[in-house]
């Protein structure tokens, strides 16, 4: 439930503390948050609370800063929706454009990363994607898995993978050393003590197919690339026979640095199949307030999560 910052008669849950903090800074956001939480299952609400507690650890006393970032992200998405609905396209199509305007701008990147972190607990489509990851993909990982994540960001996906993998290995790649430093800091704050290898590597420059992984995660990365099909082909080569991949690719989801527009969940499934993976499970989560049917009709954003498997003996 949403509480005001003065309703402190009983201890607040982590999620209540988080939303209370957001609303103290941005009271106009109440209607959206009420929409988000109105139809959450008890299980989803419990996960949101867990994620909120992790966010508090990552905030390390600077929750105001994260809330500012979250507000920036929300306002940015409205601007990008306007471009999307006027033109039918995302604003940018070339990586070099977003690299120059976004990725090389520390102030924007700090706001962006902080905002994305909060959205994991607040946005329904992000929460449900994480729920699917925990409930459907993590069980497919053995304790001895050789695991890889592309673009680990705030480290929450690594956090849940690390809880499963005792004897295997966990690696993560990113093209940005700044992002990797941020991930390392997040992993430390989350208390992940087991080794996690963070490497500055570009997927498109990978030619070492001697390395193969039992489980690969690429969440909300492919839409930032000019050629996601090529990326998936490379990831297929990097997947061990019988191994699994977790892909989260939002469709009709304008954002400042989204480059590749897919218009339906089926486009995502086709992309994954086209790379040679067998589809094992999917979940399509529309933005808050929309059923999947209504989101399709309205071209509203849908987070499309696909679990694929590489065929055995390939």
């Amino acid at each position: 439930m949403l509480v005001s910052s003065t309703d402190h008669k009983i201890p607040l849950s982590a999620f209540e503390r988080l939303t209370s903090h957001v609303l103290a800074h941005w009271p106009e956001h109440r209607r959206f948050l009420e929409l988000c939480i109105s139809h959450r299952s008890p299980e989803s609400a419990k996960l949101a609370d867990h994620i909120a507690s992790l966010i508090e650890r990552l905030a390390d006393g600077h929750l105001d800063q994260l809330v500012s970032g979250y507000q920036w992200v929300c306002n940015m998405i409205v601007e990008e929706e306007l471009v999307f609905r006027r033109t039918g396209r995302y604003r940018y199509a070339r990586f070099e454009e977003v690299e120059r305007i976004i990725y090389n701008n520390k102030e924007i990147m700090d706001l962006y990363m902080d905002g994305v972190l909060l959205s994991q607990a607040l946005y329904n489509n992000h929460l449900h994607s994480m729920e699917f990851y925990i409930n459907e993909f993590i069980p497919k990982i053995s304790s001895r898995s050789k695991h890889l994540e592309i673009g680990p960001g705030h480290g929450l996906f690594l956090y849940f993978a690390a809880s499963k993998i005792d004897h295997g290995s966990i690696s993560a790649w990113d093209v940005s050393n700044t992002s990797l430093s941020h991930t390392r800091s997040c992993l430390d704050k989350l208390g992940i003590n087991r080794p996690v290898t963070l490497s500055h590597r570009n997927l498109f420059e990978e030619d070492n197919f001697q390395d193969r992984y039992d489980s690969i995660v690429i969440s909300e990365v492919l839409e930032h690339l000019e050629d996601p099909a090529r990326a998936l082909n490379i990831l297929h080569n990097l997947t061990e026979s019988g191994g699994h991949i977790f892909i989260n690719f939002p469709v009709n989801a304008p954002c400042i640095d989204h480059l590749f527009l897919l218009k339906s969940p089926e486009d995502v499934v086709n992309l994954v199949e086209g790379a040679g993976f067998t589809i094992k499970n999917v979940r399509f989560s529309p933005v808050a307030g929309y059923t999947l049917e209504r989101a399709r009709k309205a071209r509203a954003a849908v987070s499309c999560v696909v679990i694929g498997q590489k065929k055995e003996n390939t």
Binding site: F32, V78, L82, R86, V287
Partner: protein, 87 residues
């Protein structure tokens, strides 16, 4: 008539909701008038009247009356029917 044109746009965007425009009509009163449909509404109005609104104008409109005032500033003068002003 420009008012009817605006009414038709609203009816098209919120096609499951019977709707009569009045100046103090706000988004919470209209089923489906969320942030996405607000932008769809703005884009449809821009196309219908050949204007472009800026972000500040889009965010600032608290009700349909504000929208009509903004349209007037863009040279689109919409006169309210007398019965819509009696609410």
């Amino acid at each position: 008539m420009l008012f009817q044109k605006l009414q038709d746009i609203f009816s098209d965007i919120f096609d499951e909701t019977p709707l009569t425009l009045r100046p103090d009509l706000t988004a919470p009163e209209v089923l489906g008038w969320d942030s996405i449909n607000h932008i769809n509404l703005v884009v449809a109005i821009e196309e219908a009247f050949s204007i472009t609104l800026d972000s500040q104008e889009i965010r600032s409109m608290a009700n349909v009356g504000d929208l009509v005032d903004i349209l007037k500033r863009h040279g689109v003068s919409i006169e309210w029917p007398s019965d819509s002003l009696a609410h």
